[in-house]
Symmetry: C2
Subunit: 252 residues, 2 copies
DNA sequence: GCGGATCATTGCTTTAGATTATTGAACGGC
DNA sequence: GCCGTTCAATAATCTAAAGCAATGATCCGC
């Protein structure tokens, strides 16, 4: 979090790491991205970053920390739409829609790099791959939501929990925040309950069930997968590979 | 569905109608889109257009008809991810991911215009607004999914059904397939049940409840909203306005 | 005009999971 | 070192919605 002269340190940024998996970025393009970064934003744990119903014309590239997108219903219930991990973008709907339709709150201290949406759009006009990359990432986000719909719609509670753990693990792995078959859960059971549309006691029971069936072991929040195949089958989980973005010039 | 010489009739295409709401399209750009259209694809009612797990490197712009994205679970349950209406794009994840992670099936006869994903990407390099438009639409799709997550996660069955009806009505209005407070439901209660994660009898009962509370009236599949405000409140529904895509040239 | 398919409606039983409440453990600040 | 907060664990009751089953209604082709 120390200021780095002449650069926002994008080269080691988890967002760039994810972009690089989609399209090979030339130095000039990276420079273009670096140029539009306004600076760094740090939000403390338990604080809201984006408020439901407000305009938010910034893009935030999460460097470190965890957050959730959520929506509060009038009856007091909270549904967490999804979790945000390093490498994710925050602020898309607030920029594309006239106002955000959910809130974002930091679960841990959260460190991000920010730019204005207009600056990013102009970057897309200069380097169209950034616009395409945005589509790719939005599609990826849509895919995560889609799985989430299946979770809460048709999966049983154990299946949901398993699926959540597997997917989170995969996302953390992509940005080097998880080991091969073990990771540290950044979220409380209350958060998980609101992600999965369950009650806290039930999440707890499902954790116990997974432990009882020797599918996972956990000491505090350190989760270890004991039988990867079995839990993947249980969760109907299938890892998805993103196809790369074609470069310019190939005949249409 | 008759062949139109020299043009795919894109000017009156609901997809173009939606694009035009996002960004003003110049003649040359429209021509560019028209040029990459391979032709027309008609899929008959009850047939699959995309199969779960297969590669699908095409984009289909729905001209007429209705379809659903769905996923079959091993336990025989089906979750419908969302419904597809005229003006929607089919095929994004199949193009962006290495394989599609869901199936698409036609509910009514379905008429679409098709192009290859590579051709579209090349179009984006020539006219970056198409790439941006794709992001916008993907974000819109993500937003629909997000609401769907809230539906199945935290809304009560009546709320879900109300929300579904309202959202569908709004989407149909955007492409002139619905009147101000009335529309024809293109889907059976079985389809709706699989969208909302409910059983068919329960969907039926919830319809009755809405009728009983004088929120809607329906004769067969023609739905009429009797008290728009009340049902919107019940459903926690808030219409969302998409911000337009900025044109090139404004200072970043 | 008949017969099959599709879809809507209704009743009954059963159970999964919410709700509520309480205890216990771990952590962090002063 | 103590106290307050936060989170995990566990038990009891109760209700909402699933599951199952059967009947009507409507539309279609022949």
């Amino acid at each position: 979090m120390r200021a780095q002269p002449q650069s926002n340190g994008l080269d080691r940024h988890p967002f760039v790491a994810r972009l690089s998996q989609l399209v090979e970025l030339k130095t000039a393009e990276l420079k273009g991205l670096d140029d539009i970064i306004d600076g760094e934003l740090v939000i403390r744990k338990r604080r809201d970053l984006v408020a439901d119903g407000y305009e938010y014309r910034k893009l935030c590239f999460v460097k470190d920390g965890y957050a959730v997108r959520y929506k509060l219903l009038r009856n007091g219930k909270r549904q967490i739409l999804n979790v945000i991990v390093p490498g994710d973008i925050v602020g898309l709907p607030g920029s594309f829609y006239e106002r955000s339709f959910y809130s974002v709150t930091a679960i841990t201290d959260l460190c991000m790099n920010v730019c204005g949406i207009d600056a990013y759009v102009q970057l897309c006009y200069r380097h169209p791959q950034f616009g395409l990359a945005l589509s790719w990432m939005a599609v990826q986000e849509a895919a995560t939501y889609a799985e989430h719909v299946i979770d809460v719609g048709r999966r049983t509670p154990v299946e949901r929990l398993s699926h959540f753990l597997l997917e989170l693990h995969a996302r953390l792995r992509a940005v080097e925040r998880a080991e091969k078959e073990r990771f540290t859960l950044p979220f409380s059971q209350e958060v998980i309950a609101d992600v999965l549309g369950l009650s806290v006691p039930h999440v707890n029971r499902m954790m116990q069930q997974l432990r009882g069936e020797k599918l996972i072991a956990n000491r505090d929040r350190v989760i270890e997968f004991l039988d990867f195949d079995a839990i993947q089958t249980l969760a109907h989980y299938q890892p998805q590979a993103l196809a790369p973005i074609p470069r310019e010039g190939r005949p249409g």
